[in-house]
C-alpha cells in the first residue's frame, strides 16, 4: 500500500468538506486517490469503492461495522487501508 502512496505509511490530511455536510469514507477515499495517490489507482480503488482485497478500518474498527462507504469521519479520525494482496 505504501508503494502507491509515495512510500508514506501515515498521512495527515485536511480534507475539504463539500456543502458543509458530514464527510464519509467514500469521499475521503476519493480525495486520497485524487490528492495523495502517486501510482496505480486501480490497485487502490475499483469503481467508487475500494478494490476487493483492500481492508478498511475507521479508528481501528472494521468498516463493515460502521456503514462501509457511508461511514462518517470527522476531524482527528483515522482511516486505515491494508492491502491483503501481497504474498504471505
Amino acid at each position: 500500500m505504501e508503494l502507491l502512496f509515495g512510500n508514506q505509511k501515515t498521512v495527515e490530511a485536511d480534507i475539504p468538506v463539500s456543502n458543509g455536510g458530514q464527510l464519509t469514507v467514500a469521499e475521503a477515499m476519493a480525495w486520497a486517490r485524487d490528492n495523495l495517490l502517486t501510482e496505480r489507482p486501480e490497485l487502490f480503488m475499483k469503481g467508487s469503492s475500494v478494490r476487493p482485497g483492500v481492508l478498511v478500518l475507521v479508528n481501528d474498527t472494521d468498516w463493515e461495522l460502521c456503514g462501509e462507504l457511508e461511514a462518517e469521519v470527522a476531524e482527528g479520525d483515522r482511516v486505515t487501508f491494508i492491502s491483503t494482496l501481497h504474498g504471505g
Partner: protein, 312 residues
C-alpha cells in the same frame, strides 16, 4: 455509533467475521480464530506428539501469523511439537534480505530456532543472477518452483517430519478456480487437501486452510505482529492475477463463497485418484515423473523440470 461484541456483550466490536457474520471485540476475535485453527489441527490430525515441524517462514503476514498461532497453540494445548522456522533466501536484494530480517526478529519473539537455506547454497546461483540472465519474464513461476523444492531440501537437511505452510482459505479457493479453468483434473482432485504428500517423507500441512485472509490480516494488525509487506522487486504489482481478483469479488458479494469453493473441491472425486474408478481411468491421468536432470518430481513423466532455463 458503538456496537457491542456479540459474544461477550461487554467490549466494543471491532470486526465482522466473514464466514459467520459475527461481530466481535478484539479478545473474542483472537479466541474464536485460535479455537478454529486448533479445531482444524485436531480434526484433521495434522500433527503427532514429538514431531519436528518446519514452519515455512517468509516474513509475510501468513507465515508470521502461522508462527505465532502454532507456538501459542503448541503451548496452550500441549501438542508436544518441536517447532522451528525454515526460510529460503532466494537472493533478491532489497526484498528477501529485508524480509529475512523480519524472520530473524520472529525467531527472537517466538523463541524457536530459525534455519535459512539460500538458492546460492542449494543451487549455486541467486535469483538476482537468474534475472540478469533471463529477464523478469516468467521469473515468478521459476522462483516459485525452486522455492518449493528448496523448502523440501532444507527441511530434509534439518530432519523435519513435516512442513507447515501459511496457505489460507483465499489461496486454496484461488487454486481450486485455477485448476477448473485449466482443466487440470488430477490437481483439482487434491488441491483442497489439507495434507499433501502424505506418503512422502515430508508431508505438507495447511493449518490455515479454512482461515480467511481478512482474518489473518486483522489478527496481525490488531496484535501488531511484526510482518513484512513489501512487494518483491521483480513483481511489485504481481498481485496474483485475475483468479485472485475474482475470489475477492465473490467474497465481497457473498463472504461464504470462499469456504464454499473449498468445500465443493473437497467433494470432487477424480477417477483413478482416492481409490475411486478403475485402473484404465487411473492410467488415463497424466502421471507425475522425475526430472531427467535433477531427479526432482516434475508434472509429466520424462520431462525436465525448470533446470533447463538455468545457465550452467
Amino acid at each position: 455509533m458503538v456496537r457491542l461484541c456479540g459474544h461477550c456483550c461487554a467490549q466494543r466490536a471491532v470486526l465482522r467475521r466473514p464466514k459467520t457474520a459475527e461481530q466481535l471485540c478484539r479478545e473474542c476475535f483472537y479466541a474464536a480464530l485460535e479455537e478454529e485453527v486448533h479445531q482444524t489441527i485436531v480434526g484433521a490430525r495434522l500433527f503427532r506428539p514429538g514431531e519436528r515441524v518446519a514452519v515455512a517462514a517468509s516474513g509475510g503476514k501468513d507465515s508470521t501469523v502461522l508462527a505465532h498461532m502454532l507456538t501459542t497453540l503448541n503451548a496452550r494445548y500441549n501438542y508436544g511439537l518441536d517447532l522451528f522456522l525454515l526460510s529460503i533466501d532466494e537472493g533478491i536484494s532489497g526484498y528477501r534480505d529485508d524480509s529475512l530480517e523480519t524472520v530473524k526478529r520472529n525467531e527472537e519473539t517466538y523463541k524457536i530456532p530459525l534455519h535459512v537455506f539460500s538458492y546460492k547454497d542449494l543451487y549455486g546461483w541467486t535469483m538476482d543472477e537468474i534475472v540478469r540472465e533471463i529477464g523478469t519474464r516468467s521469473n515468478c513461476t521459476f522462483c516459485g518452483v525452486f522455492r518449493r523444492q528448496a523448502l523440501d531440501r532444507g527441511a530434509a537437511l534439518v530432519k523435519a517430519d513435516k512442513i507447515a505452510t501459511g496457505h489460507n482459505a483465499d489461496d486454496v479457493a484461488e487454486t481450486v478456480l485455477l485448476n477448473i479453468i485449466r482443466g487440470d483434473v488430477p490437481r483439482l482432485g487434491r488441491c483442497a487437501n489439507i495434507v499433501t504428500g502424505e506418503d512422502s517423507p515430508l508431508p505438507r500441512v495447511k493449518p490455515f486452510k479454512y482461515t480467511y485472509e481478512k482474518e489473518i490480516v486483522m489478527y496481525a494488525y490488531f496484535k501488531k505482529l511484526d510482518y513484512f509487506s513489501t512487494e518483491c522487486i521483480y513483481a511489485p504489482y504481481a498481485a496474483r492475477g485475475f483468479a485472485r481478483e475474482f475470489v475477492k469479488d465473490l467474497e465481497a458479494a457473498r463472504p461464504r463463497a470462499i469456504v464454499d469453493l473449498i468445500r465443493s473441491a473437497e467433494q470432487f472425486r477424480v477417477p483413478g485418484l482416492d481409490g475411486v474408478g478403475n485402473a484404465a481411468a487411473a492410467a488415463a491421468l497424466p502421471q507425475p515423473g522425475n526430472c531427467e536432470r535433477c531427479g526432482y518430481i516434475s508434472s509429466q513423466a520424462g520431462s525436465a523440470c525448470l533446470w533447463e532455463i538455468i545457465p550452467s
